[in-house]
Amino acid sequence: MATLLSLHAPRPNPHHLIRASSSSSPTTTTTTTTTSTTTQDSPQSLEERFGRKGVKFTESGGVPTVELSVRNGSSVSLRIPDGLVTSYKPKVYWKEDGFEEVLHTIPSGLDSGCPLKGGLSLVLNDVSKDGSLWQASQWTVKDSESDSIDAVQVELSCSNGDGSLEITYVISLYLLCMATAVIVKNKGNDTVKLTSAMLSHLKFKSRRGAAIQGLRGCSYCSHPPLSSAFGILSPAEAMEQEPPGWPFFNNNGNEEKEGSWIVEDNLYTILRGKLSRVYTAPPMDRMKRIYNTPPSKFETIDQ
């Protein structure tokens, strides 16, 4: 479940919020129908308010989407109400004038709701009260920013039923990478317990050549990912061992039992066999006075 791409996002700075002062007032409520509770704006009105150079609001399959693009042609495509990034195509040096789609999406086969699974999605659950689980799901555009050549950014916001949680999701696109940042503000009086994940589905050329570098020395244990409507594998499916038709690749299967912590020995964590792990400092270690902190940077390698 560790995030596979380590990126530098811009610092959440008040400049973004200052620019939005004119549009943060509740003019987002559509004035026509009063019965509908979701406040969806038409792409034209979004384009008027938030459109910038490199930030374009359109509609895809009846759903407002925003397309971010920068000078070298890299682009990101994001579905607004779901907060799902469906496409990231950076400019790559190994193809002349070429772009490579990094994210993997598949049709979800659902008639209603989101027609896609995969991509890059944010899972944010409020688990403070037992039984009633609130998930961040209805996103609206809050602001956009562009420096008109090298970087563009769009901010989505979401709040829970009683307004006690205010969540801002910032998606940025730069020349060589994209970044996401999530800011959660607790405006209520009670403490809030959250579980969250960034589910990233990436395309690799082959299983044999997919690896992560930088996790050596960090402890890991088997752990299922968080469940989400956009996940291609459910948590249970992710934890299933692969059938023994691949005996040479799945050499980790016997050692990893859920709950046991192992220290990563290899320079490259090869993703040939199916695995579902969390890389962090084990909870028992964190009780000690001093413990080895997990790495903050790692690289994904695709050969």
């Binding site: 990126l7 811009p10 990094v102 090298d150 413990y291 390698i301």
Partner: protein, 176 residues
């Protein structure tokens, strides 16, 4: 073979990314819950020092680039004293050489190539003084910079705290 490696961008919204300076001790202690053991204190601290724990030195290794929210990117390690700083960093999988990590790009601990540069932010009293080789290689560098392969950290029974800035030539912030 094409390796898909995405590099972090140069700072974009430039109005915020001038060199920031840090009051290092308070920031690191607060964020990591260090209990400060000072080898020079002898009076009242004997109560607070855990008698069961074998003596070791606490290390904080700071990356040259800050985290996206502006805070320092610190890796915490703990090691027994008496060893070279280079060995402690390599065993702890800390990035010491940066781009010079590849085979034959560094002298492997000989003290001749000058690529294992580190800056000592705190804990100087625990480190051995600069050797003649270091003085030669680091003639034009700031006084706080050391060669990790020539620096011995403390003795096997030392207790204390050392904060090291990795790759000081590439750092984007300053220490007060």
């Amino acid at each position: 073979m094409g390796a898909l490696q995405l590099h972090p961008p140069l700072p974009v919204f430039k109005h915020n990314i001038t060199k920031s300076s840090y009051k290092l001790c308070s920031k690191l202690h607060l964020s990591r819950g260090f209990h400060k053991h000072n080898a020079l204190e002898t009076t009242s601290s004997t109560d607070t020092i855990d008698q069961e724990e074998p003596p070791s030195i606490d290390f904080g290794f700071v990356s040259p680039r800050l985290l996206p929210d502006g805070s320092p990117d610190v890796q915490i390690r703990s090691a027994v004293g008496g060893r070279k700083l280079r060995d402690i960093m390599l065993d702890g999988h800390i990035d010491l050489y940066g781009p010079y990590e590849k085979p034959l790009f560094n002298c492997g601990g000989g003290g001749t190539c000058g690529t294992c540069l580190v800056e000592v932010v705190e804990g100087k009293h625990l480190l051995s003084p600069r050797t003649e080789r270091e003085k030669e290689v680091l003639k034009r560098k700031p006084k706080t910079w050391r060669l990790a392969c020539q620096t011995v950290v403390g003795k096997p029974d030392s207790i204390g705290e050392v904060i090291i800035q990795q790759l000081p030539e590439w750092k984007t912030h300053e220490w007060e």
